[in-house]
């Protein structure tokens, strides 16, 4: 698994920077991909991985820095250009056409011809050959959609090879694969590595990184933390590099406000699970308690939140709210029972950009009241103004369209919406991701205050720092199951150890 002696550099990116409307996505990032090497790119959500990939594959262009391929400076402005240069990407959502046959997907856009028409026999033969190079022997005439995601990915890889790639970028290829399929993929990756391809492997599964990578580059908050040889970086050190330490935030909890051990249980889930998304999980939240849910991306935290809120139906298990069994078919049922969810994807699932701040704030309360009873305009304005002031939302007026606010203020508006319903349990899914420090502090202070008043809070975050400061108890998830629970006063190392898993030593 060790890299060959002095491998040649195929792709070298230096000083790469990118800004999006005020926030920095990448800052002085350096990346070095070598021939015949599998190089893993790791980092949490918002670390800049996807921005870097979009840059390399021509979807967006960098504000600063340069990228060179085989010594020549390149700056692809479209994905097609990047492919022509030799940088091919296979995404998590396989970007092929599911209705076309396997052979067609491999040869689309470059069909061999006979007398001006497509020579299908040559297409079939050629696709079988290139699939053999990745060790796959399947019926190339069947539509791509009839094959599993694992096979579809292999076809995407085969297409990439077919257009003679120098660099192959695999973006989260294993998220939808089972154990056996992952091993098959690794076999293919190793075979391609032997053939001298430079492979960049983006994933959040730690053991997979160690199983197949030669080198690891870690990104955090848009900067490169470091480039390491996989052999020389123990797992906890990797996790530490990924989630690391942030600037000091607001004070932690006052021990006075710790909830009584016998506070009533607001919500408890027994064996709650959903096929392919979450294994049977037990979880309990008491009144006035802040329960943290820690774990890396893909560990199942958001899936658990969706099950608790009625966005998804569980395949197994039971949910009790205030001691009574609850069967949630729709978020409206959850809202009626006093639950609230600030979703992770605030732009697509949280804020309604074309409605005003006021309308966004009163929406959930209105759905709880039903369609016949309404809040009068005066009541709406009073409510919105009160919450906007309480949370410190920076907006010209409550009639401003929500889409015009900054990310942090949008997050506060979503929070305000749920606070307006005075919920029993507030689920916050990554509430501080991608927002400025000041807004982060405001939100966290508010969470502390609410818990002090008796609200139960489920706080999902990948930032260990935050979780430690805010939570009374911390549940840790790894690979779609709960692996343990720690009390609020535990150390960062203990959490990291649970997240990292058995392999690697606790420093």
């Amino acid at each position: 698994m060790s890299a060959p002696a002095s491998p040649s550099v195929v792709l070298h990116a230096t000083g790469v920077g990118k800004r999006f409307a005020g926030s920095v996505a990448l800052d002085g990032v350096e990346l070095c991909l070598r021939a015949g090497e599998i190089h893993a790119l790791m980092g949490q959500n918002g670390a800049g991985k996807s921005t870097l990939i979009k840059l390399l594959t021509g979807v967006i262009s960098a504000d600063s820095g340069q990228v060179s391929l085989d010594g020549r400076l390149v700056a692809p402005t479209t994905p097609v250009q990047a492919q022509a240069l030799g940088i091919s990407t296979v995404y998590q959502e396989v970007n092929l056409c599911p209705n076309l046959s396997v052979a067609e997907n491999i040869f689309a856009g470059r069909y061999p011809r006979r007398f001006g028409f497509i020579d299908w026999r040559a297409v079939r033969r050629g696709s079988r050959d290139v699939l053999a190079a990745v060790g796959l022997d399947i019926n190339v005439d069947r539509p791509l959609a009839t094959y599993s995601v694992a096979i579809q990915q292999m076809v995407a890889i085969a297409r990439a090879i077919g257009v003679s790639a120098r660099v192959l970028i695999l973006d989260e290829p294993t998220s939808s694969l089972d154990e056996g399929e992952v091993q098959e993929l690794f076999k293919v990756m190793r075979r391609l590595r032997e053939q001298g391809l430079a492979i960049m492997f983006v994933t959040h599964f730690l053991d997979q990184v160690y199983a197949v990578s030669d080198r690891i580059t870690v990104l955090r908050n848009g900067r490169r933390v470091g480039e390491y040889l996989a052999d020389e970086l123990p797992q906890p050190a990797l996790v530490s590099a990924m989630v690391g330490r942030e600037i000091a935030l607001a004070e932690g909890r006052d021990s006075e406000h710790r909830p009584a051990a016998d506070a009533p249980v607001v919500l408890s889930a027994h064996g709650l699970g959903r096929r392919g998304k979450l294994h049977a999980t037990d979880i309990q939240v008491r009144r006035g308690e802040v329960l943290g849910l820690a774990g890396l991306l893909g560990s199942g935290r958001t899936e658990l939140a969706r099950l608790l809120f009625g966005l998804d139906r569980p395949g197994e298990g039971r949910l009790d709210i205030q001691g009574e069994a609850a069967d949630l078919h729709h978020p409206a049922d959850a809202v009626a029972q006093g639950l609230a969810l600030c979703p992770e994807e605030r732009k697509t699932e949280g804020i309604i950009a074309e409605l005003s701040v006021r309308e966004n704030v009163v929406l959930a309360l209105q759905t709880r009241m039903g369609w016949r009873r309404t809040l009068s305009r005066t009541q709406q304005e009073a409510l919105a103004t009160k919450l906007v002031k309480a949370l410190g939302v920076k907006t010209a007026s409550i009639e401003t369209l929500a889409g015009q606010l900054s990310g942090g203020n949008q997050q506060k508006v979503v929070l305000a919406r749920w606070l307006a319903t005075a919920p029993r349990l507030l689920i916050l899914d990554e509430p501080t991701r991608g927002i400025d420090i000041a807004a982060k502090q405001d939100i966290m202070a508010e969470v502390v205050r609410l818990a002090g008043q008796g609200m139960a809070v489920l706080f999902i975050s990948a930032e260990i720092e935050e979780v430690l400061r805010l939570c009374d108890r911390i549940a840790v998830l790894r690979e779609r199951r709960k692996v343990g629970e720690l009390p609020g006063g535990c150390s960062e190392q203990e959490i990291l150890a649970l997240i990292a898993g058995d392999a690697g030593e606790v420093a």
């Binding site: 994905p79 097609v80 492919q83 998590q92 959502e93 396989v94 970007n95 092929l96 056409c97 599911p98 209705n99 076309l100 067609e104 997907n105 689309a108 856009g109 069909y111 028409f117 497509i118 299908w120 005439d141 069947r142 539509p143 791509l144 959609a145 009839t146 094959y147 599993s148 995601v149 579809q152 297409r159 998220s175 939808s176």
Partner: protein, 334 residues
């Protein structure tokens, strides 16, 4: 021996899912014809089927062009109106301005293609909904047709009359020039869809336009070209229709777009795009024509049942398509 082997290969190939899509309309057509043949004497005569082609030649040509549009996930509601516009323009040029039919036909074909290309450009460039753009195009074409002439214009040019009366013998029956043109268009459509990069790009766009773009396929030009192709086919259908009716009238082909869409859907093409065959459209048109023939043969049912029958068939096929689409994602779902 060879025949047996090719039949076996065909059946073996037919087990492939995509051939199944063709088997359904083909099977339905054959079944309807056989059942009809049992109930009504004289239904299974070759000329009856030849008449199907003769009477529906213009619908077939239009539907072939429409198939390509629907395969990309779009729709073209202007087809009937463009047919009407073509007939009126032809008739006006020939009868009132003394043009030779061939010259008039060339102008008409160019106009149809141009209109289609303009609509395709608007749809592609400004990301407008094809439904509304082509609906407006329908209004425009009908309006232009009525502006040229409110009344019907009879065509009595000797060239046209002569071509209209030509009958070509084929398999014990005789076909008109229009029917032959329709068959040629179907054959060309099959070749275009199955053996050219344009055709394959059409399927790719219907499957996933973003992926098609990422794969480097010429999405923008393909979209414009399918609408231009649909416009060309409508104009050509208008030429055939003018031959068939020997008149040009702004109210010709009223509501034809719905029949064409029904034919394409019954022929197995998904309205969401990406799956379907031009050959299927042939059977879709034949089924529609057969329904009308059966009702005519029966004599007891009023012809209004045709509309209801088409509606029911359309419902059945749409529900079927919905079920198919629901099952497919489970295979490759993440």
């Amino acid at each position: 021996m060879n025949a047996a082997r090719s039949i076996a290969a065909f059946i073996g190939g037919a087990r492939e899912a995509r051939h199944l899509a063709l088997a359904v309309p083909l099977g339905l057509f054959v079944a309807m014809a056989l059942v009809g043949g049992v109930f009504y004497d004289g239904l299974l005569a070759p000329q009856v089927f030849a008449n199907l082609l003769i009477d529906n030649a213009f619908l077939l040509i239009t539907a072939v062009g429409l198939t390509f549009v629907i395969l990309t996930g779009g729709i073209d509601l202007s087809v009937g109106a463009v047919i009407a516009l073509s007939t009126v323009l032809q008739a006006a040029l020939i009868q009132r301005h003394g043009w030779h039919p061939l010259a008039a036909i060339s102008v008409v074909l160019l106009l149809g293609t141009g209109l289609g290309a303009c609509m395709g450009l608007l749809i592609q460039r400004y990301t407008l909904q094809p439904f509304v753009v082509t609906l407006a195009g329908m209004f425009l074409a009908r309006g232009l047709a009525t502006l040229i002439s409110v009344d019907s214009i009879g065509i009595d040019h000797p060239f046209m009359a002569a071509v209209a009366s030509i009958r070509i013998p084929l398999l014990g029956a005789s076909l008109s020039v229009g029917a032959l043109v329709a068959l040629v268009v179907v054959a060309a459509g099959v070749l275009l869809a199955g053996f050219t990069s344009f055709g394959r790009a059409v399927y790719a766009i219907g499957g996933n336009p973003q992926s098609a773009s990422l794969m480097g396929l010429p999405v923008a030009s393909t979209v414009i070209r399918v609408y231009a192709l649909s416009g060309f086919c409508s104009a050509l259908a208008g030429v055939v229709y003018a031959l068939y009716m020997l008149s040009g009238y702004s109210q010709h082909a009223l509501g034809l777009e719905l029949d064409a869409i029904a034919a394409v859907v019954i022929g197995g093409t998904l309205l969401t795009g990406g799956r379907g065959h031009v050959a299927g459209t042939l059977f879709g048109v034949l089924i529609l024509g057969l329904i009308q023939t059966l009702i005519a043969f029966d004599g007891r049912l009023s012809s209004w049942w045709t509309r209801i029958a088409i509606g029911l068939l359309l419902l059945m096929f749409c529900l079927l398509q919905r079920l198919l689409v629901r099952r497919a994602p489970e295979q490759g779902e993440s």
